[in-house]
Symmetry: C2
Subunit: 453 residues, 2 copies
């Protein structure tokens, strides 16, 4: 076998697996384990044997054929089984999933999960419990689906120091913004199309609102910066306020609009910068070329410099592949443990590093103003910005189309002014915009999109 | 510590390290170990302690400060030391390096190497020796430098099946072709510039000739397809015959010229397809955007689909980072072994899968002909191609500039004909070109560049 880590001849050693949930990912896991049983056995010298699958509604139509004898509605009994070594949590959500994960840990089972929400909100407690009990909790599938970014960050870059992360970690958002970029269509229309094609959920709020991405960023921050994260305090802005004119002007200025998560380590005193929002990404960045529903994580680390990891962030088989790869890793570690060693993935206690307040972040900004097209207005605008320490790199003024809802002020036509600033402090920019909003020439609230890089 | 796999409190456990060679990468390793000593100790519950550094010329000016007491010219004594657990081979080349690696294995030491040549040529023997002795041989730094592709392929995609690989694995070649693309300058001039800037060696043959890339492809094939590879049989074509006109026409047809390695699994009977050559890559592929000296591996696997891993493929710190990350992994495994388990990276015996003969590969082709500009010539050209089963997707004809050395035939001006074919069999294309070369209107040998994807 190409990448076997097993002990040689295949023994009859089996690792018992319990699946909690049999939705999309669960079906993929069953399928992959069945298809690759021999290869996996050769790889780790053990067979992965599915003992039971806990489901809510036993008679529901399933995506994959399973032996009905495996199905049960008794979640706790499934977790508690003596012949189960690995519990795969695919329930989703935070309440029931957290209970199930903690129960599994308490019963001495290893856990594999794809659940970003439960890790973002309860990661500290879950990892502490696992460390105390000496079991593994693996979560490769929770961030960037099948792309093994967790392994890369934890083991591939084990001797490096992560300085910055820029990620496209929500495929729905990336699909929508890529389509808006290519077609110039408004958000609502692209969302409807995405839903029809299965790229967006019927209730898309967690995806387009940025909540899903914030969960993933919190997990990345725990891993890369060694800190607990209160995900409710992570600045999160969705993609639903973007207008096609912003895409056109982004291109004009040499940028592409992408749904980003950004993480930076500013050291022990200033702390960690974490934010989720659409951003203008320089067109020459490789990240700008990540389109459709694909995910990518662009990492800046001390020794390696910039590196990027790209692929399908969701989907039945990609996500299932990450889950089964984690199971193989556990099987490999467990075999060593069976021989007396305690080779466990350690979950060291997370620090409580300060979160850099949003007002303190420094970045470049794209600003769109709707103003009365009168002499002196542009000067006033730039004066107010300048008074707040915000200096301008590029300016473009266009006549505003009435379609964008800007109405004339005192008979003067409306102009749109597009500004790209130099690096500025968020608090200063927001203060400048607040002041501008009160001025007579301001026709509509300014739009702001942060610029990455 | 964010990604600690250690046993908790830092003990006084030390792993002794011997470095063989103190060039660029060796200096980077010393630097990283020193800088990150605490972090590493926390991560694995053990300190990496450099016991000795074997060098050729003791008085040579070094890139990093080392305790002179560590330096020795006695390679074998260094390997044999009782207090050495890990031997890092940074000698390079194949003869001395192979002996040193086998000696280390024989003495029960784990090995970390960045040496693609020795693994490509002697990998089977080295891995078999390591398996028999129960020691680890790690080689993350051998392919794509600091980008952890070996870990990704072996562990991240452990539950997947690799179907195809497309890689840019030689930074010198990528730098040269990226510059030729951007500037339209001829190869020889760009090579000189690359040498002046340190992107190419004084003797660039291994890089621009494709030999270095072939070594890396052989290693990838061993890992992904589980087969021994006779690297001398891998079709390898360098980048030195490319002309600026090919870059311009590639762009015209929607392609970018890249220095590729390609690997495909055609199943047990047809075998493995492996080749190294410049290729036209569709401009919409993410791989086409990998520029400068960066490397990238574009993997197509059954469950994940396409994924890509990108970053610095060479350089002191990136390469050293991969070496030290391997050392951390060994320390982690070794700790388990110390407790009685034998958790070793297994090196399963490699199969002897057939190598698909180059004549049997099927791909699309870019062809450039210099022909007498006479009526009927284009028709004859396409007829001969068609007679060999090669059908044409696109054709462009231009008047040939005399600068490219095409001389008139019987007073008729010379034309250049550029063809993009549909998928065709290499043997058929070569036969067609051989026939065309004998025809009266052929002014110069045809140029052929294979098209990827």
């Amino acid at each position: 076998m190409p990448r076997s880590d097993g002990s040689g001849p295949v023994t009859e050693r089996e690792l018992g697996v319990a699946l909690l949930g049999l939705g999309n990912v669960g079906a993929g896991v069953v399928k992959l384990i069945a298809e690759n049983a021999e290869a996996i056995a050769g790889r780790v010298g053990a067979r992965l044997a599915v003992r039971a699958i806990a489901v809510r509604a036993a008679a529901k139509k399933r995506l994959v054929e399973v032996d009905p004898a495996l199905l049960t509605s008794d979640l706790n009994a499934t977790i508690d089984r003596d012949d189960v070594d690995i519990v795969v949590e695919l329930i989703g959500g935070t309440t029931e999933a957290k209970k199930a994960i903690l129960r599994a840990i308490d019963r001495g089972k290893h856990v594999v999960t794809a659940n970003k929400a439960v890790l973002a909100e309860h990661g500290r407690e879950i990892f502490a419990a696992a460390a105390a009990k000496g079991v593994d909790v693996y979560y490769e599938a929770a961030v960037c689906g099948g792309v093994p970014v967790i392994r890369v960050l934890r083991e591939g870059l084990a001797s490096d120091r992560i300085e910055e992360l820029h990620g496209i970690v929500n495929g729905t958002s990336n699909y929508i913004l890529s389509t808006m970029t290519a077609a110039g269509t408004p958000f609502a229309e692209v969302l409807r199309e995405a839903q029809a094609l299965g790229y967006a959920e019927a209730d898309p709020a967690l995806d387009v609102g940025g909540g899903d991405a914030a969960h993933k960023l919190a997990i990345l921050a725990m891993l890369c910066f060694g800190t607990h994260v209160d995900v409710s305090k992570v600045f999160t802005e969705g993609i639903d306020k973007l207008d096609p004119v912003d895409f056109a002007n982004a291109a004009r200025f040499g940028y592409v609009v992408k749904p980003l998560v950004i993480g930076k380590d500013h050291g022990p005193e200033r702390g960690i910068e974490l934010r989720v929002h659409p951003a203008l990404v320089p067109a020459r960045w490789l990240l700008a070329d990540v389109t459709g529903a694909k995910n990518a994580l662009y990492v800046t680390s001390y020794a390696l410099g910039p590196s990027m990891y790209y692929g399908a962030g969701a989907g039945m088989l990609p996500t299932a592949m990450a889950v089964v790869s984690d199971m193989i890793e556990i099987a490999r570690n467990d075999w060593a443990a069976g021989a007396g060693a305690r080779l466990r993935q350690r979950h060291p206690p997370l620090a409580d590093k300060p979160l850099l307040p949003m007002s303190e972040i420094r970045t470049k900004y794209y600003l769109r103003f709707a103003v009365a097209d009168r002499p002196g207005v542009l000067g006033q605008l730039t004066t107010v910005l300048g008074a707040h320490g915000v200096s301008i790199a590029q300016v473009v003024q266009d006549t505003a189309p009435t379609a964008r809802g800007a109405t004339a002020v005192a008979g003067a036509p409306v102009a749109e002014v597009f500004v790209v600033t130099h690096e500025a402090r968020e608090g200063d920019v927001q203060a400048a915009l607040a002041e501008i909003a009160k001025l007579a020439f301001a026709v509509a609230p300014a739009r702001l999109i942060r610029i990455a890089g």
